[in-house]
Symmetry: C2
C-alpha cells in the first residue's frame, strides 16, 4: 500500500470531481429559461460549452503576451459564439451574465460535502481548479464546500495541467510536493501532479459527461489512492 502518511494537505480538481457541472447547468438553465420564455437546447449548449473548454485555455497558453484571462471571461466568450451557433435568440446582457455565472452555481456530488468535512478534520483542504477565485468562492458558498482556502489557476496565471499550478499550490501551502495530495476524477490531471512529486487520489465520476463520457471510467495510472467516492478517500486517510 502506498505511503500517504506524509500528506498534510489535499487539493481537489473541482469541475467533475467535486461538482456535477453538467446536470447542474442543464437543470438551472431549463428552469430559468421557462420563466424567461426562452426556448433552447440547453443540453446541447452545455455540452458544446464544455467541449470548447480545453481549446479556450490553450489560447491563453499560446498567447502569454495577451496576459492571463480568467475562466469567467473564457466562459463568456465561448457562450457568445455558442449562442450564435445554436441560434438562440432573445438573450440580453443580463441573460448572458446569468448563464455565465451558472458555473458559480454548481451542485456537489452526493458524497462531496460529507467526505470533505471528514477530511478537513485532519488535513488542509482546498480546490486546485482552473476556475477563477471568485467562481470557486461563490461555488463553495452555494454548494456548502468547507474549503480551508481557495487555490486557483488564477493565482498562478497558468491553467492546469501546467506545472506552475501544482507547484504553486505546494509553495503557497508552505509544503514540499510530497506532502500535498491531488484529488481528481481525471487521469491526466493526476499524471501531471504525480510527475511533480504530489501524491494522487482518483475517484471515478462516470456520469460527469452524461452519454458523451469517453474517458476516466477508471484509474489509468499508479495512483496512491483509488476510491469510489470522497468518503472512501477520507477513510483511507484515517478520517
Amino acid at each position: 500500500m502506498p505511503d500517504v502518511s506524509t500528506v498534510k494537505a489535499l487539493v481537489f480538481d473541482v469541475f467533475g470531481t467535486v461538482v456535477d457541472w453538467r446536470s447542474s447547468l442543464i437543470a438551472d438553465f431549463t428552469t430559468w429559461s421557462a420563466t424567461r420564455g426562452i426556448t433552447a437546447d440547453w443540453t446541447g449548449l452545455v455540452d458544446g460549452w464544455r467541449a470548447v473548454y480545453a481549446a479556450s485555455m490553450d489560447e491563453v497558453r499560446k498567447h502569454p503576451e495577451r496576459g492571463y484571462v480568467i475562466l469567467d471571461t473564457l466562459h463568456r466568450r465561448s457562450l457568445e459564439k455558442l449562442v450564435a451557433q445554436h441560434s438562440i435568440s432573445g438573450l440580453n446582457e443580463a441573460d448572458l451574465h446569468y448563464l455565465t455565472m451558472g458555473w458559480h452555481r454548481l451542485h456537489p456530488w452526493p458524497d462531496s460535502v460529507s467526505g470533505l468535512t471528514r477530511l478537513k478534520t485532519k488535513y488542509i483542504i482546498g480546490p486546485l481548479s482552473n476556475g477563477n477565485v471568485a467562481l470557486l468562492t461563490d461555488m463553495a458558498k452555494f454548494a456548502g464546500l468547507p474549503w480551508d482556502l481557495v487555490l486557483s489557476a488564477e493565482l498562478f496565471e497558468h491553467y492546469k495541467p501546467d506545472p506552475e499550478t501544482y507547484l504553486g499550490a505546494a509553495r503557497l501551502l508552505g509544503l514540499p510536493p510530497e506532502q500535498v495530495m491531488m484529488v481528481a476524477a481525471h487521469n491526466h490531471d493526476l499524471k501531471a501532479a504525480q510527475k511533480l512529486g504530489l501524491k494522487t487520489a482518483f475517484v471515478a465520476r462516470p456520469t460527469e459527461y452524461g452519454p458523451l463520457q469517453k474517458y476516466d471510467f477508471e484509474a489509468k495510472g499508479d495512483w496512491d489512492i483509488v476510491a469510489k467516492d470522497f468518503n472512501e478517500i477520507a477513510g483511507r486517510m484515517g478520517c
Copy 2:
C-alpha cells in the same frame, strides 16, 4: 448613516484585529520554554519582534530586485537577531522553527469566531493580512476562523498598506472596491483602503500591544462602521 448595502465581501486585518498575537505568543513561549528548560524574557522578545515588523517589510519594499519575501521568513530573520540581542542561549534549529511558527498558533479575541460566523451567513469573508498563505491557513484551523477564502499579501507580492493588496483582493473577489469592506483595528490600514474606494469598519483592540499600546484606542477617520467588536459589526451588517 453610511450606506453599506453594496457590500458583498468583508476582508479582515488579522494580527491584532482578529487574533491577540501578543498574549498568545507570550503564553505559548512561556509554557513551551518551561518544558525545554530555557529561560528568557519572552514578553520582551515578543514586543521586540513586533517592533521590527514594519521595518522588515520596508526592506522588502525598498529592494524589489531581491524578490518578495514572505512573512514567515521575515519573522525568522528578525528572531535570529533578537535571540542574539537578548542573549538567549540553548536554542537549536527546531526551537527557532517552533518559535517562528508561533505566529501560526494565535488565539482569537473572544468575539472573533462568533462575529465571523454570523457575517459568513450573508457575506464572503476572508483575511487580508501581511501573513503568508500557509500562516493564515494554519492559524484559521488552529483558531477556528471560518474564512471562505484566504487573501494574503503573498498573493500580490506586496505588503499592506501598498495599494496592490486592497485592489488585488477586490480583483480576485471579482468585485469593485466599493463592494468590499476592510475591517481593521488600525486606522492607517483603513485609511489606505478607503482611499482606494473600499468600505471600512473599525474595531478597537486597546490591549493589542499591552502596556506599550500608543495608537488606535479609537477611530481616527470617517469609517463606515465603528464598532466595539465583531458581533456589533455583524449586527450593523444585518446578520
